[in-house]
Symmetry: C2
Subunit: 228 residues, 2 copies
């Protein structure tokens, strides 16, 4: 079977890109190097902040994201994946910029939810953009966002992961936010930020729908899908 070459729009943040690649390697059925997917990665630290663009009217990351997508297509990618939830606010622009499919980690995550309401762990920009609310509402599932103080705590935790802080020290703080979402009625949490994917663990009081895992599975599925 010839699998598609996967292009990865990366760098948001770099640790999340590495985590995506690590899970992709583990998720690919392979006994030898040759069984793995061909993956081209552009880990670009110069992509303008998605949060600054959405919350503060900063420069849009769309032109740079489209440039990276076109570069990956030119280099041979046949399918694109972008392991950053917030950047999915610009998915339509990226899809318009290339002739190859671009996976949507938000829809992939929404397709996993079977019961609601679902608590949302994401950047404030992703929450405000309504990305997750829209995708989940289309499936009849209500999204519960954390209260203002808890959202600030999630924002601080994401910044701490990006700064390279020890994950072990941060996990209990995330769990407090999850516990409060559970008390408000959440039946699960959607891990809608790749930095939070590094933090949410088995000790959580609610089951997690990890959008990063959903993207990994979609990548393997679509890359290995037989052409018709």
């Amino acid at each position: 079977m010839t699998a598609k070459t996967v292009g990865v729009i990366g760098g948001m943040g770099p640790a999340a890109t590495v985590e995506f690649l690590s899970r992709l390697v583990r998720a690919t059925p392979a006994a030898r190097d040759e069984d793995h997917l061909h993956v081209l990665v552009d880990c670009d630290p110069a992509i303008p902040s998605r949060t600054a663009a959405i919350l503060e009217g900063g420069p849009s990351p769309a032109p740079r994201l489209c440039m990276i997508a076109r570069g990956l297509e030119r280099a041979g990618a046949q399918l694109l994946a972008m392991p950053c939830n917030t950047a999915h606010a610009y998915l339509d622009a990226i899809r318009a910029a290339v002739d190859i499919p671009v996976l949507d980690m938000v829809s992939e995550a929404a397709a996993r939810a079977v019961v609601g309401p679902v608590g949302l762990l994401a950047t404030e920009a992703a929450v405000r953009s309504g990305l997750y609310e829209k995708a989940f509402h289309e499936r009849g599932i209500r999204i519960l966002s954390p209260g203002a103080e808890d959202q600030e705590e999630v924002t601080r935790l994401i910044a701490a992961v990006k700064a390279g802080d020890r994950l072990e020290a941060l996990r209990p703080r995330l769990q407090l936010v999850v516990s409060r979402l559970a008390r408000e009625g959440a039946r699960a949490v959607v891990i809608g930020c790749t930095e939070v994917s590094l933090l949410h663990d088995a000790g959580s009081s609610l089951p997690g729908i990890d959008a990063l895992d959903c993207l990994v599975e979609a990548t393997v599925r679509e890359a290995r899908r037989e052409e018709r």
Copy 2:
């Protein structure tokens, strides 16, 4: 400071490439996404086996490695790193194929050795190619290769890492090989295979010079070096 864009010749194996990227992210002084290096990665599973080429006269990986190197240069890389020790047997060909510097993880490792003899943990192909012996002898340090049976065990361990076996189960087997190298007089071991980099740990009876770490440090150093 404007850092150089780093191109990574990857996929040998994919897990080792991910480990390199993971260590690179951790080794880069950064508080925000924007402080990280711009990294382009080609994780190509179709590179012909280095071992088959060196030991069995199989097809040379050199043309494909050169093609990847040129593709990364074309995509904007200003410095290349190749996290696979055995593939360094083709370093001269790759250097001839591009106009940008290509780091040498073998020389970087040799530069760290202060006392010998040093045991070598590498593929049989890397051992037979004399890559490490040459680089260490130039610095007056003797290399001790494992005996035939131990080398076969190292080969099996490398294949098991590539196949995704649990690392915890493999580590004690590597430690037995290291202990025998110590009994033969080795004062340190050079971890000259990226799969072995995933296995060698703090419990080892000899200090390790990990060529993968040496490559990571060289990458950060050279990417961030001010132009003169």
